[in-house]
């Protein structure tokens, strides 16, 4: 009795409420993107994505019930086990997986049921990293700890890269935000940003010029800086790292990145460079969203998504349907919901007494934040086209389940935060 009461009393209803709105918004928009005028169809039709999504939503409710009924201490204790299972599945899928659009990322069980283990890797990795960081002995400035925690992050990344699904692999970078919160030196973050900047730069400018630029910059910096040995050494160190990044970026591009990835990045900067080829997705996505104006064309009234101008409308580009039919009002509303949700999760994380729960909360927020940023950013031309879903809205059983479990575990931990003794 007491335990039940504590669940309902302590459950963060606001989070759950936003979750509900996002999921239903997603469901309606999935219907809108498969809807065809004239054809008699139902939103519940199981042969349509909207009908299937309803099954995923209903089963997510069951997942909710299961997650809530399991003892909260259990999640911490089986973190590594879950992580291990997922890592195993990620290896397994490379061998036995089904190839869908060039990537071996799916298990096909029967003809209806497909599972994408990389979606589950998100919460599994969050759990494992939270568990690892929450060890009392853990220190970010201890090299073995640092290597180990980055190892936890990079292991699934590498396996997913092998599928290859670089988009999903990229998501795991989200944990750097968690590390930063938990005490990782900000230089890692700065170097990360530098890496991205140089990465984009090398796509457009010859490597030689970048190296010359770095040289010039270093010379000027030394010229103006205090002439202490320490300062000069620091500047030279940064310069060396930058040069290293530039060289490695070039290597990464020519040897790892496939030509179509390079093109996508170029298209991001100038979509008109290839409007019918690689610019198509970005251009059409922006057209669909932009044509919604303030209030949108109305539910089921969208033309760009309905007539297949936007690719992957019910999955990666679900935001286009929303933008076209609900307009700026709809897109701003959903963005606001996401921002509130993520901030709320951070608030929840910070009120945890257990470090495990707090780190886990930050992991949840970071994973959602990265998805939110990249997915919406790509639909409005601020990010290259990277095939990752918009949490809770995009069609897909694995992704909805993955995000639901991710969030529900946090809600479960949060509901029991008072039962934690401070160590």
């Amino acid at each position: 009795m007491r335990r039940d009461a504590s669940i309902t009393n302590n459950l963060d209803w606001l989070t759950l409420f936003i979750y509900g709105i996002l999921v239903i918004t997603g469901w309606l928009n999935i219907y809108a993107s498969v809807y065809e005028e004239g054809a008699s169809m139902s939103i519940f039709d199981l042969s349509l994505n909207s009908g299937k999504q309803l099954i995923w939503i209903a089963s997510s409710l069951m997942i909710f019930a299961i997650v809530m009924s399991i003892d909260f201490k259990f999640y911490e204790s089986i973190s590594y086990l879950i992580y291990g299972i997922v890592i195993f599945l990620l290896i397994f899928v490379l061998v036995f997986g089904t190839k869908v659009s060039g990537a071996r990322s799916w298990f096909e069980i029967g003809s209806f049921f497909k599972v994408q283990p990389s979606e589950f890797a998100k919460f599994a990795t969050t759990l494992a990293i939270a568990k690892f960081i929450s060890q009392p002995s853990f220190r970010f400035n201890r090299i073995p700890d640092l290597v180990a925690v980055f190892g936890l992050m990079i292991a699934p990344m590498l396996l997913i890269l092998l599928q290859p699904d670089p988009g999903t692999a990229l998501i795991f970078m989200a944990f750097i935000i968690v590390f930063y919160r938990e005490g990782l030196t900000p230089y890692v973050l700065i170097i990360g940003i530098l890496f991205v900047l140089l990465f984009i730069l090398t796509l457009f400018i010859d490597q030689l010029y970048i190296l010359l630029g770095i040289g010039l910059f270093t010379a000027v910096a030394i010229g103006f800086a205090e002439k202490t040995l320490k300062r000069i050494a620091a500047i030279l160190f940064i310069a060396t790292i930058t040069v290293g990044i530039t060289l490695s970026v070039d290597y990464f591009q020519t040897n790892i990145l496939q030509p179509h990835h390079q093109k996508r990045l170029k298209v991001l900067i100038n979509p008109n460079s290839d409007p019918l080829g690689d610019g198509w997705n970005v251009t059409q996505s922006k057209i669909a969203i932009g044509s919604g104006r303030i209030w949108g064309k109305g539910f089921l009234e969208g033309t760009q998504t309905k007539f297949d101008f936007v690719p992957e409308q019910s999955t990666d580009f679900i935001f286009c349907t929303l933008g076209e039919e609900q307009g700026w009002a709809g897109t701003s509303f959903v963005i606001l919901l996401f921002v509130i949700l993520i901030l709320r999760i951070l608030y929840i994380a910070e009120r945890q007494k257990s470090k495990f729960a707090r780190v886990y909360g930050y992991g949840v927020a970071s994973v959602l934040f990265i998805h939110f940023t990249i997915n919406i950013g790509m639909t409005i031309g601020l990010f290259p086209v990277i095939g990752i879903p918009l949490p809770f809205l995009s069609y897909g059983g694995s992704s909805l389940w993955g995000f639901s479990i991710l969030l529900f575990i946090l809600l479960k931990l949060d509901a029991h935060r008072m039962q934690i003794l401070i160590r």
């Binding site: 932009g290 044509s291 007539f307 951070l346 409005i380």
Partner: protein, 600 residues
């Protein structure tokens, strides 16, 4: 330190949210480019071409009809050809042309239809219709081209052609699009706005593959095409065809008017061509042929060719002198060949005889009286005053001015003014002796055949005319443009026409125009043998009949055919006979005119 980091992370989240909302505001609210691009994506504009108005002759005979033709359209993205060779064979093009056209279409648009082969004829269409199913990505779009069933009246009807760049730029109403057809000359051009009708537009929604997905907004923006207005011409097809037959193989013009209305009964520009040559697929080839012809068949001679009026002009000189009161028609004036070259014998002439024998010396004296009226003792100034008066008169006759005819670019001819002679000789440095050749319609004077037909009409009406026009009814109105309902008076009292007409009647009965004599119908006319410094003289003639109830006024010029009495008078007379009696009894004259050997 951790607090600072917490804030950084939260700031980053809010910042990203803000950036998105602002960027979306820019895309969705501030810019309407995307909305237009979205419509461009899904909307396919289908033009429904209206039927161009038909043109009838005065008796309801169809002069211009529309003939269905078909354009072969291509949508490059959908093209799946199993057998390109078969396709090329069927459409009678070679492989290179096919590849070239395909590339052009691709460059225009991959998903939008563009024209692949223009204007496939009805017969060809029947041949390929069944095979179209094999040619995925190709469609047939129906349109119509002009057809001229009687092959007559080429220059007056004009032709229709694809609009060119400069015409597009001039189109301020934004009616035309690239590739549209527009009337380029003749009636097709002057009545373009009536004939063209209104295009209909249907908006279809298409998906990304160009598959139709129904009408846009239930067709509320669609418009139906409105067919162009039909025109009823003043032309009498019978007379027109007869006149063309007579002028075949010659270079010249014929204009026949109905004096009581100004309606053009017949207008011939010789040499002429089959107007069907400039319609349909062979347009550009035929246009090249016609425009490189040294006899310039595309030149609409009756309204554009300018010749000196010659002796026909003596009628105008007589009327001006009579109106000015400087000439008594019964006065006998001794005219010898002293002053100007002449074919008429020396002797005493009154006005009727002067016209009958076309005495150059008589009219030299008449014109001198008009010019030198003694208004100023200085002959240089006197001539200026006289010429000014004279020019006022000729202008009222519609000479030296572009007529108001409803055909494009009618020429004004030329009637010299005081300013002109001042420019040539210097102010007050010319007098009658410098300008006397005007008296017999030579010198600087120039007229078009249409102006001479109108002159015949003025004389027939005893002093007024209706502006010549070729369309008597636009659509259902039953009436022409209002400017053609106005009676224009030339400023000569009708009484002065009596002696002139009597003189002109004598020309026919007993003068140079005897070939134009009709036994039962009094014909009134005047010949001209127009001096031509470049070769044989031009043959000119104007006439009207019957004398007291004029039904037809006519002017004919035949180039390089010598005396007006021969070629022009014969042809004009035959056309009048045909029009007035419905038949030609004078076969000998017809044979003579058809044979066309006028210089002997």
């Amino acid at each position: 330190m951790n607090d600072q980091r917490k804030i950084f992370i939260r700031l980053a989240i809010v910042l990203i949210g803000l950036i998105f909302i602002i960027k979306l505001f820019a895309i969705q609210v501030l810019s309407d480019n995307y909305e237009r691009a979205a419509e461009g994506n899904i909307l396919q504009r289908i033009i429904e071409y209206p039927y161009r108005g038909l043109i009838y002759d005065r008796h309801g005979e169809l002069l211009v009809v529309n003939n269905p033709i078909y354009d072969l359209m291509i949508v490059p993205m959908e093209v799946k050809l199993k057998d390109t060779l078969e396709f090329c064979r069927l459409f009678r093009i070679d492989r290179e042309t096919f590849i070239q056209k395909y590339e052009e279409a691709r460059n225009y648009s991959v998903i939008k239809p563009s024209i692949f082969i223009k204007q496939i004829s009805n017969e060809d269409f029947a041949r390929i219709q069944d095979k179209m199913i094999d040619f995925t990505g190709f469609y047939i779009s129906a349109r119509s081209v002009r057809e001229y069933p009687h092959t007559s009246l080429a220059n007056a009807l004009g032709y229709v052609g694809e609009i060119n760049k400069s015409q597009l730029d001039k189109d301020t109403t934004d009616f035309y699009r690239m590739g549209d057809y527009i009337g380029i000359s003749g009636i097709e051009a002057t009545y373009e706005t009536a004939l063209r009708g209104k295009r209909g537009v249907k908006w279809k929604m298409v998906n990304v593959r160009g598959v139709e997905k129904g009408s846009f907004k239930n067709g509320q923006n669609d418009t139906l095409s409105v067919p162009g207005l039909d025109l009823i011409s003043t032309i009498d097809l019978d007379i027109q065809q007869y006149a063309e037959k007579l002028l075949d193989g010659k270079v010249g013009s014929l204009v026949a008017l109905e004096p009581s209305t100004g309606e053009v009964l017949s207008i011939v520009s010789a040499p002429f061509y089959d107007p069907n040559m400039l319609s349909g697929r062979e347009f550009s080839n035929n246009f090249k042929i016609l425009s490189s012809d040294t006899l310039v068949p595309l030149f609409n001679r009756p309204i554009m060719a300018m010749y000196p009026p010659g002796s026909m002009f003596k009628t105008v000189q007589s009327l001006i002198a009579l109106q000015e009161g400087v000439l008594n028609p019964d006065e006998l004036i001794y005219s010898d060949g002293r002053l100007i070259g002449d074919l008429a014998p020396n002797g005493y002439y009154d006005l009727r005889e002067g016209i009958q024998y076309s005495s150059n010396n008589y009219f030299y004296r008449v014109f001198r009286r008009v010019i030198n009226q003694g208004a100023d003792p200085n002959p240089f100034i006197d001539a200026r005053i006289g010429l000014n008066k004279w020019r006022e008169f000729v202008t009222k006759f519609g000479l030296g001015e572009a007529p108001d005819i409803d055909l494009p670019n009618p020429k004004s001819g030329y009637m010299p003014s005081v300013a002109y002679y001042d420019r040539i000789y210097g102010e007050k440095r010319w007098k009658f002796s410098n300008i006397y050749s005007l008296s017999i319609g030579q010198g600087e004077t120039l007229v078009t055949p249409l102006q001479m037909a109108n002159l015949a009409s003025i004389i027939a009406n005893r002093g007024f005319y209706y502006a010549p026009h070729i369309i008597k009814s636009i659509g259902e109105t039953g009436s022409p443009d209002s400017i053609y309902m106005v009676r224009n008076y030339v400023g000569i009292d009708s009484i002065h026409f009596i002696p002139v007409i009597e003189g002109m009647e004598r020309v026919i009965r007993n003068g140079s125009g005897r070939r134009a004599y009709l036994p039962d119908i009094p014909v009134v006319g005047k010949t001209s043998t127009v001096e031509n410094p470049h070769g044989y003289d031009h043959s000119g003639f104007m006439a009207f009949a019957p004398k007291d109830d004029p039904k037809i006024a006519i002017a004919v010029y035949v180039e390089n055919s010598g005396w007006g009495a021969r070629a022009a008078a014969s042809i004009a007379s035959l056309v009048m006979e045909k029009y007035l009696t419905g038949d030609v009894k004078r076969k000998w004259l017809e044979d003579y005119a058809l044979k066309g050997e006028f210089i002997y």
